[in-house]
């Protein structure tokens, strides 16, 4: 799509050269063919090192743009960005793609639906009511139980087990908010990557990234009813017990253990080998690895036990 088409969709003027744009991305991850955006003054320093050539930007940030950039000046960059994402959103179904390629000894139930463009490895089992979206790839020996939905463009590794009712790759919960209190959809044009040997319990929801990928790394085991938001990066061999939730863009290192009903805020980084007891509420990044934590607000597990002892004495 041409940059001028983006401008006319937004009903705004563009400055600089008219470029071919293939997708959108965040400021620091953009390639020269991607459209990016800068909302806030704090991005001024990142702008100078950006590789992107096309920007949605506020007038106050124009002076920080790299030389020869093309740009659109927006009153509200986050709202214009949301409207622009719609232009790069792909339709759920693309009948013109090639029929699915299915490996040897794989079993696909007649009540399952596999869209075009899909690649399925060998010895895969796909059970009744499963839905495998456009361009999805599934590795060898993976088992997909009934009524699992995998949205388009997602990637599932080999030796995975996905239990019934799981949804992988639904839209992340991302909106720009108008002054009138309305919520403008930011189309979620990324995907989900599940690496090898991951097991996911029944009725989990793992959302697709807004740009790039939500990643579940190899060997991670996830129980039932777990929510993993867009752009999360879950490290190798983590354990998630039932009903936990992870906010958007949060990163966990390898071998974290997250007990039942715990939850993480968005945009935090958790060191490897961290353990969280049941009902933990994690709102800040954890830099030191190997800790054990409890409670909400979160504290060291030992402190939490001391605190509970004190609290139980308060009633005497």
């Amino acid at each position: 799509m041409l940059f001028s088409n983006v401008a006319s969709h937004l009903k705004l003027q563009y400055f600089g050269e008219d470029l071919e744009i293939d997708s959108m991305n965040e400021l620091d991850l953009s390639s020269p063919s991607q459209l990016t955006f800068a909302v806030h003054k704090k991005y001024a320093s990142k702008l100078s090192s950006s590789r992107a050539k096309a920007y949605l930007i506020t007038d106050t940030l124009v002076e920080f743009l790299p030389k020869d950039s093309s740009y659109i000046i927006c009153d509200d960059v986050s709202i214009s960005m949301a409207y622009a994402t719609k232009l790069f959103n792909k339709k759920p179904i693309e009948p013109q793609l090639l029929a699915a390629i299915i490996g040897e000894n794989s079993y696909i139930d007649t009540m399952a639906k596999v869209e075009n463009g899909v690649i399925i490895g060998s010895n895969v089992t796909i059970m009744a009511g499963a839905y495998i979206g456009t361009n999805v790839a599934i590795g060898d020996n993976t088992i997909i139980y009934p009524n699992v939905t995998i949205y388009r463009d997602c990637v599932i590794g080999r030796d995975c087990i996905i239990h019934a009712g799981v949804v992988i790759g639904a839209d992340g919960f991302g909106f720009s908010h108008t002054k009138e209190g309305e919520h403008i959809k930011i189309y979620q044009n990324g995907n989900v990557i599940i690496e090898d040997s991951v097991e996911i319990g029944a009725n989990c929801a793992i959302d697709r990234a807004v740009f790039n990928s939500t990643i579940i790394r190899k060997g991670t085991k996830i129980d039932n009813f777990i929510h993993i938001a867009h752009n999360c990066d879950i490290g190798e061999h983590c354990i998630f017990v039932a009903q936990t939730g992870v906010g958007g863009s949060t990163k966990l290192g390898r071998n974290c253990v997250v007990s039942g009903q715990s939850a993480f805020s968005d945009h935090i980084d958790i060191a490897p080998f961290s353990t969280f007891t049941a009902r933990s509420g994690v709102t800040k990044s954890i830099a030191e690895s190997g800790g054990v934590y409890s409670g909400y607000p979160l504290m060291n597990h030992r402190d939490w036990k001391r605190l509970q002892a004190r609290i139980s004495k308060l009633k005497e």
């Binding site: 179904i93 919520h183 939850a263 509420g281 504290m299």
Partner: protein
């Protein structure tokens, strides 16, 4: 069904003129042809203003039933209301209804199931394994992702997005309990109405009303794994973040934000522009609009912060 028959089902001594009963409803909403009930003395004041044609009461409440309204006297009105509700439950599927009507430009997967009596608007996408129940109505331009179930009589507006595996209109969690501790199902004969421009995440459940409607107003955004109980009203442009739970009959004004894993008790009223932080537990109605709350028990967010600081000092 004839009122005489209804009286017989619940073993009530029937006095007065019989009429054709069209359904059951609350005291407030019942019409002349409907049966209502009083199971709690706090509703006695509502009897006088009720338009119900007949009311199930116990001996002590009989005297409050006005002239022209039939009193059906039983030992335990709530239990007998449950007994009778079964007889007003419509069939799950109904062969006597017309073939479903599907608007121009709408794509329906051959693996989706549309029950008789359903109406689907223009330019919708209905993907594989979707079930749309009898008499359900879907507006224009709505996308329904795989394995979504919409139960009979429910309505979804235009420009909505319903993500995979979400269930709209399953039975609300309503039972009458007798002295032996047994639970009898209260058939949930109401519906769910989702207005225009609503997005609902994956594996979310919105239960149908016992009587009347569970209502999601326009512009609402609901994340994954959210539970909305029967007879709730969610105000315009409200936001329900992942794993939030709204108990039955709770009403929210516009632009309420419920953080992740937050929850409300039943029968509350939440003022517009209220924000609940993650994990909030709301047990009382909020009358003043525009405030932010946190914690369980719920307090204003700034007080919660102070309280947590004091608690942290307990172990110093």
């Amino acid at each position: 069904m004839d009122l005489k028959e209804c009286a017989k089902i619940i073993n009530s001594d029937f006095e007065g003129i019989s009429f054709e009963v069209t359904g059951m409803n609350t005291l407030k909403d019942a019409s002349k042809s409907e049966i209502s009930f009083v199971s709690n003395s706090k509703y006695i004041k509502d009897i006088q203003s009720s338009n119900a044609g007949a009311i199930i009461v116990d001996k002590s409440t009989k005297e409050f039933v006005p002239k022209g309204c039939v009193a059906l006297v039983v030992e335990s009105p709530y239990w007998e209301m449950a007994t009778l509700s079964k007889h007003f439950a419509p069939p799950i599927e109904d062969d006597t209804l017309a073939e479903p009507k599907i608007g121009e430009g709408t794509i329906v997967s051959p693996k989706a199931e549309i029950a008789r009596g359903a109406l689907i608007g223009k330019n919708c996408t209905i993907m594989a394994h979707v079930y749309i129940g009898a008499n359900a109505v879907i507006g224009d331009n709505t996308i329904i992702y795989p394995s979504v179930t919409i139960y009979r009589d429910c309505r979804v507006g235009s420009n909505c997005i319903i993500h995979a595996n979400t269930t709209i209109g399953s039975d609300g969690f309503g039972f009458a309990t007798n002295r032996l501790g047994e639970h009898r199902k209260i058939y949930q004969n109401g519906n769910v109405v989702v207005e225009d421009n609503v997005e609902i995440g994956s594996s979310t459940t919105i239960d149908r009303a016992a009587f009347g409607t569970t209502l999601i107003k326009h512009g609402v955004r609901i994340d994954n794994l959210v539970q909305v109980g029967h007879n709730c009203i969610i105000g315009e442009h409200s936001v329900l973040v992942a794993q939030a739970g709204i108990s039955g009959s709770t009403t929210m004004g516009r632009n309420v934000v419920m953080g992740g894993q937050s929850a409300t008790a039943g029968h509350l009223s939440i003022a517009p522009f209220t924000t609940m932080a993650a994990r909030s537990g709301v047990t009382k109605s909020i009358n003043q609009s525009g405030l932010t709350f946190a914690g369980f028990p719920l307090v204003e967010h700034k007080i919660w912060l102070k309280l947590q600081a004091k608690i942290a000092r307990l172990i110093k």
